[in-house]
């Protein structure tokens, strides 16, 4: 990649994750910030005016719950509990630099609390309570409780800090300890709370509020007094700020105010619907209720309130209901951060005078949970459709064909004229609007030509089919359509509040995404489907939509949970490939249904691989009669100690360009391209052996089995053409290793002895296997392989590193036939000799210095150019780019020197003209002499 190509056709989206806690903050002389801690262990600072990431720190992956990091802050630093509650990290607010790292305890715990005063930092994690003096890394005091805690919180009033804890077997009481000036712990008395349950409690200011049914118990920590209030309805949620407590029920919320004279009493009741979120401003002056279309502000100390309508900004972006609100009051308006169920974060300001809601910015954080990605072609352009029309009707006579052709040519001419007129109008409009001189005119012309291929043009396929719609399905319940040109959101689907991902034994959460009809049929819209589970009934749900505009076509719920699902290899008369959904009791549903006459043209059977804990089974499914029959069964040589880690089959529509490989001896070695081959990787727990078993799914034949000693996770596999590439951690060598297995039928001489050339016959000879291993100096987060339209281009294996780089390894380097010693013939064939290590150079990173962290998968897709592959890496970040593994052999290169060639051509033309004149005058002079 070259420097002038950076950012030219790639883009990156940096995400912070689903916010769990947000606070407003002012950082020195800079603008206001939002301090965000998310469910994906990210601590970030967002610029309040723009929503951009000021700084971001990605912590370790949590081993337990995903409720975000516990943090607190003072004027200069942010104090966060990290490493599952074992340490505190102190971050500089300005730039996110780590200032201190304070170890707390060696035991992990989810019961965490942290508090900072002017001089001291108080941390509670599990059974350990530690007090630090600010700036020091040695604790002043450490207390370890003998009993496990179920609740932990700090309270401060003036200079007094009190720690509240609940012991595991202590029943219904909380322990109070006062922390003195020198850091010592002084026990106070025990307070009894009836039916104490930590998850029903809320901590604020000097009060601990707990709910039981419709009873609200408020504990004044500093007076050690409990007050009970009986409310009208059952309490579902408690929140609040300062002296105000919000007790939310099913239909309304009670505002409880605590004063010194009267204690706690209900001040006001606010009606709240099911899809609305409730919050209170930081100065506890007003209560904010938001729904999808309105923001209501209810004043606490007066009878007035007002409601502001929200303007629907984008029709294609469908958001969920709000989940939480963080707001504050300014001099003139309210500033509100709204977080939806779909991790949609938006910042709005509400003006009281004009009663309007202004959307300042929004962020889509659910992309951090992307699990399925597809790339879909754009519809044909108008000129391409005309060409299709021109050649479609083959039965018309010659006169009507001629007339149609003239019409098409005329249409193309009109289109070209219209486009030119639009450009001229754009230039003239820019001049009249901003006419300041020649520079502006030149810029207008340049942007006019640029806008022809940019997003402002018509939404159709470009010349080389490089621009696509990227469909991303997330495990949060959203589906996005993203423009691959610049990463813009085209549409967004919210799959509903009952969304739940499917479960996979190998890959965790799954939201399968199928492209059932592409845009190749220009009369018909594209069709894609997403399959998930209903949270309440656990039944399968399939939603079909138009991938261009995100419009839902149909939504069906099955009567059973989905056990497995597959795309059928046949299509209906409307060119739709149906999706087959199979339940646990062999129920079968096909969406959309397919008729027997559509089936008769092709094979009516589908073969599936069924993997249980001990056995592996081959199933045969009759599509017409919808019956499942076991064909073969076995354990594939696996024992009870073997854990299956990965299963990789061939991709659905993979192209293998060349059937053979030419050897140095001029023989042809034919590739073993069985489309029914599946690779199964397993690790033996007893002796740490990794076994890769290649199975024919139809016949159950074990084609090959390879064993690697002392291997460990993480293990990644790529299966393509006739080879399998895999990566594993070698415990013996204590490094990452890459392996490659290649399968061949045999050379031409051996091939002629066979009667039938068929990879699918089970009784034939086993394939010739070549295998090689290489040392790799980096870790591997994800692996993928590049894809082109015809499979002619050299394939590249893409390896994502934990450090955020994506490395491109050519297949010529990861090759099982690299010789140990190069002969002269091999040198002439430009073969690369074997070297144990595959070098990792920074020039081979396809994302240069744009790091992509925690990559979960890399999606590759062919484009219209044979040389170019499209790549999207998704994880904590998204990164899209193009890949040219063999160079741009089918278009002019980027550094094609147009200027030099033009100069040379002009010089030659001028030189030939001058030479002609000189020759003529010389001839004339010679005749005169």
């Amino acid at each position: 990649i070259f420097e002038d190509q950076a950012g030219k056709f790639d883009w990156r989206k940096q995400l912070v994750g689903c916010p769990a806690k947000i606070t407003f903050d002012k950082v020195g002389s800079k603008s206001d910030r939002l301090i965000v801690s998310t469910a994906q262990s990210v601590l970030a600072s967002l610029v309040l005016n723009t929503g951009n990431i000021g700084w971001r720190q990605i912590m370790e992956n949590p081993s337990g719950s995903t409720n975000g990091l516990t943090f607190t802050k003072d004027r200069e630093y942010i104090y966060s509990i990290s490493e599952d509650g074992r340490s505190v990290r102190v971050w500089n607010k300005n730039n996110g630099v780590l200032a201190h790292q304070l170890p707390i305890s060696e035991q992990k715990s989810e019961i965490q609390a942290i508090h900072v005063t002017n001089q001291r930092l108080h941390v509670a994690s599990g059974r350990t309570l530690v007090v630090f003096r600010l700036g020091d890394e040695k604790p002043v005091e450490t207390v370890i409780s003998k009993t496990e805690l179920t609740f932990s919180a700090f309270f401060q009033q003036d200079d007094v800090v009190i720690h509240v804890s609940a012991l595991k077997n202590a029943g219904k009481s909380i322990e109070l300890s006062k922390i003195t000036e020198d850091g010592a712990f002084e026990p106070l008395k025990t307070v009894e709370i009836k039916d104490f349950e930590p998850k029903n409690c809320h901590v604020q200011e000097a009060y601990l509020s707990c709910s039981t049914g419709s009873t609200l118990q408020i504990v004044d920590i500093f007076r050690q007094k409990v007050q009970k209030i009986q409310l009208e309805t059952e309490i579902l949620e408690i929140s609040g700020h300062g002296p105000l407590i919000l007790a939310r029920g099913a239909k309304n919320a009670q505002i409880v105010e605590i004063t010194a004279e009267n204690g706690a009493q209900v001040r006001k009741s606010v009606d709240i619907g099911a899809g609305e979120a409730l919050g209170i401003t930081e100065n506890h002056e007003s209560v904010i209720v938001t729904s999808s279309d309105a923001v209501r502000v209810v004043f606490v100390n007066s009878a007035t309130h007002f409601s502001a309508k929200r303007v629907k900004m984008a029709e294609n972006l469908e958001n969920s209901a709000p989940k939480s609100i963080f707001g504050r009051k300014n001099d003139k308006d309210w500033e509100i951060v709204i977080v939806g169920e779909d991790c949609h974060v938006e910042f709005v300001t509400v003006d009281q005078n004009s009663k309007s809601v202004n959307l300042e910015w929004s962020r889509e954080e659910s992309l951090i949970t992307a699990v399925s990605v597809e790339m879909v072609d754009l519809p044909l352009s108008e000129s391409q459709q005309m060409i299709e029309d021109e050649f479609e009707d083959g039965e018309s006579n010659i006169i009507s064909a001629f007339i149609r052709r003239i019409q098409v040519q005329f249409g193309q001419l009109c289109r070209q004229i219209t486009r030119s007129i639009e450009k001229v109008i754009y230039v003239v409009t820019s001049i009249t609007k901003n006419g300041n001189g020649v520079a502006d005119f030149i810029n207008s012309v340049r942007s006019a030509s640029g806008s022809g291929s940019a997003a402002s043009g018509p939404f159709e396929r470009d010349y080389f089919n490089l621009r696509k719609v990227i469909i991303v399905a997330t495990s949060t319940g959203t589906v996005f359509g993203i423009d691959s040109a610049d990463g813009r959101y085209l549409w967004k689907l919210w799959l509903g509040e009952h969304f739940q991902p499917l479960e996979s034994p190998f890959d965790g959460e799954k939201v399968p995404l199928f492209v059932q009809r592409t845009t190749a049929h220009y009369q018909l819209d594209g069709l894609a489907s997403v399959v998930f589970s209903n949270k309440l009934t656990h039944n399968g749900v399939i939603v079909s939509f138009n991938p261009m505009v995100g419009k839902v076509v149909s939504r069906n719920e099955l009567g059973y949970p989905v056990k497995r699902l597959s795309l059928l290899p046949v299509h209906t008369h409307k060119h739709v490939y149906p999706v087959m959904l199979i339940g646990k009791n062999e129920e079968i549903k096909i969406f959309p249904s397919i008729t027997p006459e559509e089936l008769s043209a092709t094979t009516p059977y589908l073969y599936l691989l069924d993997i249980q804990s001990q056995t592996v089974q081959g199933l045969k499914i009759d599509i017409s009669s919808q019956k499942i029959t076991p064909v073969w069964q076995g354990n594939l040589g696996l024992t009870a100690q073997d854990d299956i880690i990965a299963v990789k089959g061939k991709s659905f529509n993979q192209k293998v360009h060349s059937q053979g490989r030419v050897l140095v001896t001029r023989e042809v070695q034919y590739k073993y391209v069985n489309p029914n081959l599946a690779a199964i990787a397993s690790i033996n727990r007893a002796d740490q052996h990794m076994t890769i078993t290649l199975v024919d799914i139809v016949t159950g034949q074990i084609v090959h089995s390879a064993s690697i000693g002392k291997a460990a996770k993480p293990i990644h596999m790529v299966h393509s053409e006739n080879w399998i590439a895999y990566s594993y951690w070698s415990d013996k060598g204590r490094r990452t290793e890459l392996g490659i297995i290649e399968l061949y039928e045999g050379t031409e001489e051996q091939h002629t002895q066979k009667e039938v050339f068929d990879s699918k016959i089970a009784e034939k000879l086993p394939p010739v296997v070549a295998q090689q291993s290489y040392i790799y100096a980096q870790g591997v987060d994800a692996m993928s392989v590049s894809e082109t339209e015809q499979g002619l281009t050299t394939r590249s294996i893409l390896v994502a590193h934990p450090s955020g780089n994506i490395h491109e390894v050519s297949r010529r380097l990861l090759d099982a036939n690299r010789p140990m010693e190069l002969t002269q013939a091999m040198r002439e064939e430009m073969m690369i000799g074997y070297m144990p290590e595959i070098a990792v150079a920074t020039e081979e990173m396809i994302n240069y210095n744009q790091t992509v962290h925690r990559v979960r998968g890399i999606k590759t897709s062919p484009s219209g150019l044979e040389s170019t592959s499209l790549v999207l890496a998704y994880g904590t970040d998204l990164f899209f780019t193009r890949l040219v593994p063999s160079g741009t052999f089918d278009i002019l290169k980027d550094d094609f020197d147009h200027v030099l060639i033009s100069l040379v051509l002009t010089g030659l033309v001028v030189g030939s003209y001058v030479s002609k004149r000189l020759a003529r005058s010389n001839a004339l002079a010679s005749q005169w002499s």
Binding site: I1, F2, E3, D4, A6, W55, Q57, I58, M59, E60, E83, R86, S87, R89, N92, N95, G96, V97, L98, A99, H100, Q101, P103, E106, T142, I144, G733, R734, R735, T736, I775, A777, Q778, G779, V780, D781, H801, P802, S803, G804, P836, E837, T842, E843, M845, Y848, N849, T851, D895, D897, L900
Partner: protein, 206 residues
């Protein structure tokens, strides 16, 4: 306090500490916000403080590869061995020979090997590249020799005479005669043309 000491005695988790040496032109506080420490490619993770020191806590016994994740510099990875009693040994990482021991000091000190280069250089058109290419050397230089030398001899009569005189002392008489005949034969058509031109002008005068 007794609990604390008892816990420390039975501790099986340790800390890996080190320092990062940047080039003197770089500010550490600005650089360290984007840097992280990886042990065994992300199995354990640490962050760099504003003074370019780091510590990775709660690391059990074993052998680890210490790497620095950043986008500006390339650092040499280091292998750290931790015994069950917490004794640390740092050595140079040799992936090809894992048992090779080349001890480094502990606490770790990682120096930047150089800036990270992500882009390749474009091929640039240069005059020297064109002149010294094999095609130019094999074709253009002989052509220049063939064209320039005859012109030099033709333009300089003294050099021409000198060449004729050099041929005279040779003993081989027939060779000298042939050359003389060639010289005279070569100049004859020019003289004829001159005579023809002169006669033409004479006729016009009459």
């Amino acid at each position: 306090t007794e609990e604390v000491s008892r816990t420390e005695q039975t501790s099986t988790l340790f800390s890996v500490e080190g320092e990062i040496a940047l080039p003197s032109t770089r500010n550490c506080a600005k650089w360290s916000a984007g840097a992280r420490i990886h042990l065994n490619h992300g199995q354990y993770m640490g962050f760099v403080r504003q003074d370019c020191t780091f510590r990775v806590d709660f690391v059990p016994t074993g052998t680890y590869i210490v790497q620095i994740e950043n986008t500006d510099f390339v650092f040499e990875p280091i292998r750290v061995d931790i015994t069950s009693k917490g004794k640390m040994r740092a050595r140079k990482l040799t992936i090809l020979q894992p048992n090779n021991v080349n001890t480094l000091p502990y606490p770790l000190r990682l120096s930047a090997r150089g800036p990270a280069r992500y882009f390749r250089k474009r091929e640039e058109w240069r005059i020297t590249d064109m002149l010294f290419s094999p095609m130019v050397l094999m074709l253009v230089v002989p052509l220049v020799v063939m064209l320039i030398l005859p012109k030099m001899t033709a333009n300089d009569p003294e050099l021409k005479k000198e060449m004729e005189n050099m041929q005279m002392p040779k003993v081989d008489m027939p060779d000298v005669g042939e050359m003389m005949a060639n010289f005279f034969g070569g100049s004859a058509p020019a003289k004829k043309k001159a005579v023809t031109g002169g006669s033409g002008s004479g006729q016009r005068r009459k």
